[in-house]
């Protein structure tokens, strides 16, 4: 009974060809990784790449704010998403100057962003986190803040005070 022997189907790769095939595999894998990776990274970084415009938000009739008073006004942030719910809300401290103009301070402490409170009787802003204190004009009165409170642009249109809703102030 004759026995069959298996013949090698092909020659082993030469060292040069083996090196080439190895490199080809790495290159092809890199191409595949790029095809998947680039859109993934682009998608994740999308919010940083796509420009988001600041938006003027009305916060109340100009006449409703008394000169010398600082009040908390709430408005929707500039880039609300349908599913954001209450987290799309933001706020500012709006001060009507004795001259009639308006100043809108960010509620974020310039130290670490905590929400500052306005103490009307003391005419001071105070931060609950690390004790930063600001005068009524937003300048630093005491504590760790490196600068005064950030300000938002304000305007009066058709009798309404409008604040330019913009990014969380980060320096």
């Amino acid at each position: 009974m004759a026995t069959e022997t298996r013949e090698p189907c092909c020659e082993a790769l030469s060292p040069e060809r083996r090196r080439f095939m190895g490199r080809l595999c790495i290159a092809l894998s890199a191409v595949a990784a790029a095809i998947v990776g680039i859109p993934v990274v682009g998608f994740i970084l999308g919010p940083l790449i796509a420009p988001e415009k600041d938006i003027w938000r009305a916060v109340g009739a100009a006449d409703s704010f008394k000169p010398g008073q600082t009040v908390n006004v709430k408005f929707v942030d500039p880039s609300p998403m349908a599913w954001a719910g209450v987290s799309a809300m933001t706020a500012a401290w709006l001060r009507r100057l004795d001259s009639g103009g308006f100043v809108a301070f960010a509620v974020n402490c310039a130290h670490l962003g905590c929400p500052v409170r306005w103490l009307a009787k003391a005419n001071l802003f105070m931060c609950p986190c690390h004790g930063g204190v600001y005068y009524a004009d937003g300048s630093v009165a005491a504590g760790p803040p490196p600068r005064g409170l950030f300000k938002y642009p304000v305007r009066v249109r058709d009798g309404q005070v409008e604040i330019l809703a913009s990014a969380v102030p980060i320096e």
Binding site: P47, A84, A91, C114
Partner: protein, 482 residues
């Protein structure tokens, strides 16, 4: 019959996979004798992590990663879902246990010199696991999507914003845009549930592989130095002569401690429960005092106590320096003595770091730098007189915010010095100057107080020592009057 079929099935499985032998070899691999109770913390961390995976998957079956709905879902899980409150508690205390045990494991490895040759890469993977564990803890706190989570997110974005050149980019990356909102929570969810756990799984696999590859280090002996040229031969000889199988000779202690960890976490979840949900995640609600979970409280205190102007350097450079230093530890000291008795500087360094963290942690839990906004006006009994200037001064002490930072007879904040006996320390004129000019952590009240108001306030402060002793009572006295 059934037994025979089962045996055949097992044999067929083993013949095709070899997994039974593989895991058997792993479990029974020889380890040095007398490893003792100091060697249980690594497996305890692993068990805590496994608990986090299991409880996390369960919570994820109900959680909705939507900024607008997550708070309501958390309310449902906490107050209505069957065992929801208990599971949230398990997940919270599991995270706490993991961070605590990672810290203890790291200290043990450092003090016993287990990071030295040939286990340098295991130390490096452990350092990476430490920081990813902290990141898991922080991102988990943010998934507790209430008002504190919202402000903690802003705080983190502000801190990242201090990074030179790319600060704003990093902050926006964290927020998922230029404001906190719809994109923020789903981002944290993806990191907390997919990305970071995947990294932990990969690094734990590497960590365990290296434990098997390089073996468990023998307990250190004074005078027995690590010499990379001879270490492996000495270690092999030790295992050959005195090695014991890991299972069950050494593993029984790991099992005892692991079960203890599970019981402790479950007991805390049952008796203490998860952290209370705060107010809804509405960034326009400003009456909030955001603070991190306990394990980051010490760092929060550091940021409060840093000299002015140093925060930016410290927030970015110090954590980076800590990471680099920890990664360099096995590069700088990978041979020589292992026993802590022969490494006094290592012991001193650990003691200094641990005591500093405990000190900052205590300070952070007291937070004396935070104004006490809920301080009530001083009572008539405490003021102790009906004299108009003094009574008016006492009212001003509250209204002008002095009481938020200063204490009178145990009532008030701790930001500034106790003013109960200020007239003992300062003259009337000095008090007047200090109030008017401020300085340091105190604002100037020159433009805030009228002349009369300043007079009344000074009269009140001065009266604290001129009134009869019974009326300048102690804090205990004040408590009794409430």
């Amino acid at each position: 019959m059934i037994k025979r079929i089962f045996r055949q099935a097992v044999d067929a499985f083993e013949e095709r996979t070899g997994l039974i032998k593989f895991f058997g070899d792993v479990m029974k691999h020889p380890v040095p004798p007398n490893t003792g109770w100091w060697y249980v913390f690594g497996s305890a961390v692993l068990v805590a992590f496994m608990m986090q995976v299991v409880t996390g998957i369960a919570l994820a079956t109900r959680y909705v990663a939507s900024s607008g709905s997550a708070y309501q879902v958390l309310e449902f899980i906490t107050y209505k879902a069957v065992l929801g409150n208990f599971l949230r508690g398990m997940h919270f205390f599991g995270a706490s246990a993991m961070i605590l045990l990672v810290g203890i494991h790291m200290i043990q490895v450092f003090l016993m010199g287990c990071y030295k040759y040939p286990r340098e890469f295991n130390w490096v993977s452990g350092v990476m696991l430490l920081f990813i564990t902290i990141a898991m803890g922080f991102s988990g706190q943010l998934l507790r999507w209430d008002q504190t989570a919202v402000w903690a997110t802003v705080l983190a974005a502000e801190m990242l914003g201090r990074t030179p050149f790319i600060g704003k980019f990093l902050a926006r990356f964290l927020l998922g845009g230029k404001t906190l909102g719809g994109a923020t929570l789903s981002r944290f969810f993806a990191f907390h549930v997919f990305f970071l756990p995947a990294m932990i799984f990969a690094l734990v696999a590497l960590h365990l592989y290296l434990v098997i590859h390089d073996g468990i280090s023998a307990p250190p002996v004074p005078g027995e130095k690590v010499n990379p040229k001879t270490y492996r031969a000495e270690y092999e000889k030790l295992l050959e002569e005195r090695g014991v199988p890991f299972w069950p000779d050494a593993a029984w202690r790991d099992v005892v401690v692991a079960v203890g960890v599970v019981i402790t976490i479950a007991a805390l979840a049952f008796f203490v429960g998860p952290p209370e949900l705060g107010k809804p995640p509405n960034p326009s609600l400003l009456a909030n005092d955001p603070s991190p979970d306990w394990y980051m409280l010490w760092y929060y205190a550091v940021l409060a106590l840093l000299p002015r102007g140093m925060e930016s350097v410290f927030m970015i450079a110090a954590p980076m320096a800590a990471i680099v230093f920890l990664l360099l530890v096995p590069v700088l000291w990978n041979k020589g003595e292992r026993h802590p008795a022969r490494r006094p500087w290592a012991v001193a360094a650990v003691l200094m770091i641990v005591l500093s963290i405990i000190g900052f942690w205590i300070e952070g839990s007291i937070a004396p730098w935070s104004p006490k906004f809920d301080a009530q006006p001083l009572t008539a009994a405490l003021v102790g007189t009906t004299s108009p200037p003094i009574v008016t001064g006492a009212q001003l002490f509250h209204d002008k915010g002095c009481e938020f930072c200063h204490t009178i007879d145990g009532q008030g904040g701790m930001r500034g010095p106790d003013l109960t006996l200020v007239a003992h320390r300062l003259s009337v004129n000095d008090i007047r100057i200090k109030i008017a000019n401020g300085g340091g952590n105190m604002p100037s009240f020159a433009g805030i107080l009228s002349h009369d108001e300043l007079d009344n306030l000074v009269a009140f402060l001065e009266s604290r020592v001129t009134l009869p002793p019974a009326q300048t009572s102690s804090a205990a006295g004040y408590s009794n009057q409430q």
